[in-house]
Amino acid sequence: MGSLEKLMDIFENPQKEIDEWKKDGKKIVGHRCLYVPEEIIHAAGMLPYPTFGTPEPISKADSYFQPCACEFVRNIFDLSMDKKFDFLDTMVLCNTCDAVRHLYNMWDSYIDSVPCYMVNNPQKMYDESGIQFYLHELEKFKELMEDLSGTKITDDALKNSIELFDETRRLLKELNALRMRDIPAIAGSEFLRVSMASMLMPKEKANLLLKEIIDEVKDREIKDGDGPRIMLTGSVMDNPTLIELVEEMGGVVVADDFCTSTKYFWYETKPNSNPMEAIARFNLERSVCGHTHPVSNRYDYMNELIDDFNVDGIIYFNIKYCHPFVYESATIKKQLEEKAPVLILETDHSLSGLGQLKTRVQAFIEML
C-alpha cells in the first residue's frame, strides 16, 4: 500500500508502533503538550509519545475531576485509570492551563503504574529571565531522562535530535503547503491523521514516509475541493470527526491551528551553539498556543495562516471548560471577523449532539 495509507493505518492503530519500539526493551515517555521538549527525550534514546484522547464518554474520571475540568483532560485521566497508558515509562506534563495543572495533581496522586513529571515552563515568551528559569528546569528534566534511560545525553545527541525533529516539522510544513492551492492536494481530515501519526511514531521512520507521501500527493486534486475554504482553530483536536463533518457539509478544510498539527510544525529551532538553549528558545520564542503571552504573536501567527491559505471562514472549536480558548474566542472574535466570518462551536471533547453541530456547520457554510 502507498505511504499515505501506511500512515493512516498507523494513526488508526498506533499499538503496532509501540510494540515494535518496546520489543527490544526501549522506553517510551508520554507527554501531553508541544511545549514538552521531545528532543531531550529522544536524545536519551527513548520515544516521546503524545497522548491523545478517545471519543468515548467519561466514566471513572468523573469521581476524581469535577465535571468542570475540560473533558479532554478528564478523558486522558479516564484512559490512564483504565491502564490504557501503562505502556508508558513515565508521563510528562507542562504548565499550560489550569486543567493540565490539575491533571498533574491527579495523576501524581492516583496513577501509581506510571510516574508523572511536570516541566515548569514560563507562560511569558521572549523574556530572558524566563529563559534562564526554563534552562534550570530543562537541566533537571535532562537528568531525569538520563536516569530513566541510563544513557548520558551528549550535546551531539541533542543536536542530532533537534535536526531530526526539525526535519519532521519541515516535511509536515511542506505537505501542509499543498493545501494552499486553489484545489488542495490533501484533505484536512487526511492531513490531521498524517500529522498525528508522525507525531507519535519514531521520527526516523516518519520522515521517510512523509517524503514519499509528498511525492504521492503533490499532483493530486482532492474532489469537491472548490468549496468554501475553512480554517479550524481552538482547543485540542485529536480526532478528525469534526473536520470530516465540515467536509461532508461541503466545506474544504484548508488550514487548522491545533497542537496536533500546524502548531506542532509551523516554526523550527533556531541555530544555537548550545543545544539546551536552542531548545529553550524554541519553546519560549514560539507563541502559538492559547496560554502564552504576549498574545500579539499568536494573533500574528493566526493571521499569517488565514492569509497564506486564503481562508473564507473560520470555525473556532471550543471544548467546554477549556479556559485558555474559551476566553480567547471571546477576545479575538472581533479581530478574526475582520479577516473572515467566524463560527464558534462550543461542545464537549466527545462531540455529543452531533446533529445540532451539523446544522450549525451547514448553516455557516451556506452563509459563506
Binding site: Q356, T359, A363, E366, M367
Partner: protein
C-alpha cells in the same frame, strides 16, 4: 417556473409552492413519526391546493431538521438560511430574525438580500423551545392558540417558574394550581421564562434593524409581546409564521434554477 419548499420540523411539516414570485399554495401538518412520509403528505396537500401536479415542479428544496430524509427534494438547506430568506421575502427590510420552533430557537442576522451574516442557536434542552409550551398547554389544558392571550391577562401576579426543567416544572405548576393560583398567572410565568431564554440568543447576535419572528411560537402573543418589550422593537409577523422556512426554501429553489439558466446562456 414553479418551485417548492418543504420544511420538516420537529413538530410540524410544512410545504409551499411558488410560481415565479407568487405563492400558489401551502400546507401545515403535524410531523408524523416518519419524516419522509410527513414530507410526502404535506407536499400532496399543497399540490392539491395549488392545483398543480408533482411533475410541474421544476425544483424542490427541503429544510428543517428532517431535511435530509425528504426523498423527492433536489437539495437540502438548513432552516437557518431558509428562515432568513423567507423573512426577507415578506419584509425586505428585515435584518434580525427569531425563529422559534418546537425543538430549538434561532436568532439570525441577515443582509438586504436575506443572506445570513450571523446566527445563534439554543442548546439541547427543551426549556426554551416550543415543546415546553405544548407541555404547559397540556398541563393547564389550554389550547396553544389561547395560551398567549391568557398569559397577558394576569389576575394576581406572575407566578415565576424556578425549575429550568420542563419536566420538573410540571410539579411546580401542579403545586401552583393546588394553591389556587390562576391559570393565567402560571402561563405568564411560562411565557416569561421562554422569552427570557430567547432574549439572550438575540443579544448574542446583536439587536438592530427590522425584526421578524417566525416559527410556530410567533403565534403566541404572550411570548411575542414579552420579547418585544425586552428588545424594544416591534416584531413583524407574517400571516402564517410557520411557513416562513418552507417559503425560503422555495425561493432558494427558484434562485438556483435562475442561476443554472444564466450559466447556460453565458
Amino acid at each position: 417556473m414553479i418551485t417548492a419548499g418543504v420544511d420538516v420540523g420537529s413538530l410540524t411539516g410544512k410545504s409551499l409552492i411558488l410560481k415565479d414570485n407568487e405563492i400558489l399554495g401551502w400546507s401545515i401538518i403535524p410531523t408524523g413519526p416518519d419524516s419522509s412520509e410527513t414530507a410526502q403528505e404535506t407536499m400532496d396537500k399543497t399540490l392539491k391546493e395549488a392545483g398543480v401536479s408533482f411533475d410541474d415542479l421544476d425544483f424542490i428544496v427541503s429544510t428543517g431538521y428532517g431535511r435530509v430524509v425528504v426523498p423527492f427534494s433536489n437539495k437540502n438547506i438548513t432552516e437557518i438560511t431558509c428562515h432568513a430568506k423567507g423573512a426577507n421575502w415578506f419584509f425586505p427590510s428585515v435584518r434580525l430574525i427569531l425563529d422559534m420552533g418546537g425543538q430549538d430557537c434561532k436568532a439570525i442576522r441577515c443582509d438586504e438580500n436575506g443572506k445570513v451574516t450571523n446566527f445563534a442557536m439554543n442548546d439541547k434542552c427543551a426549556a426554551g423551545a416550543g415543546r415546553s409550551m405544548e407541555i404547559m398547554s397540556e398541563l393547564l389544558d389550554t389550547p396553544l392558540n389561547d395560551m398567549g392571550g391568557f398569559s397577558l391577562d394576569i389576575q394576581k401576579k406572575l407566578a415565576p417558574l424556578s425549575s429550568t426543567c420542563v419536566v420538573f416544572a410540571r410539579t411546580e405548576v401542579l403545586g401552583y394550581l393546588h394553591e389556587g393560583t390562576h391559570k393565567n398567572d402560571i402561563l405568564a410565568g411560562a411565557c416569561e421564562a421562554l422569552a427570557d431564554r430567547v432574549y439572550t440568543l438575540l443579544k448574542r447576535v446583536g439587536i438592530e434593524g427590522d425584526f421578524v419572528i417566525s416559527g410556530g411560537i410567533a403565534k403566541n402573543v404572550g411570548v411575542v409581546k414579552r420579547i418585544e418589550e425586552k428588545v424594544g422593537l416591534k416584531a413583524n409577523i407574517c400571516f402564517e409564521p410557520q411557513i416562513v422556512g418552507a417559503l425560503g426554501a422555495a425561493v432558494f429553489a427558484r434562485e438556483i434554477l435562475e442561476k443554472k439558466a444564466k450559466k447556460k446562456k453565458g
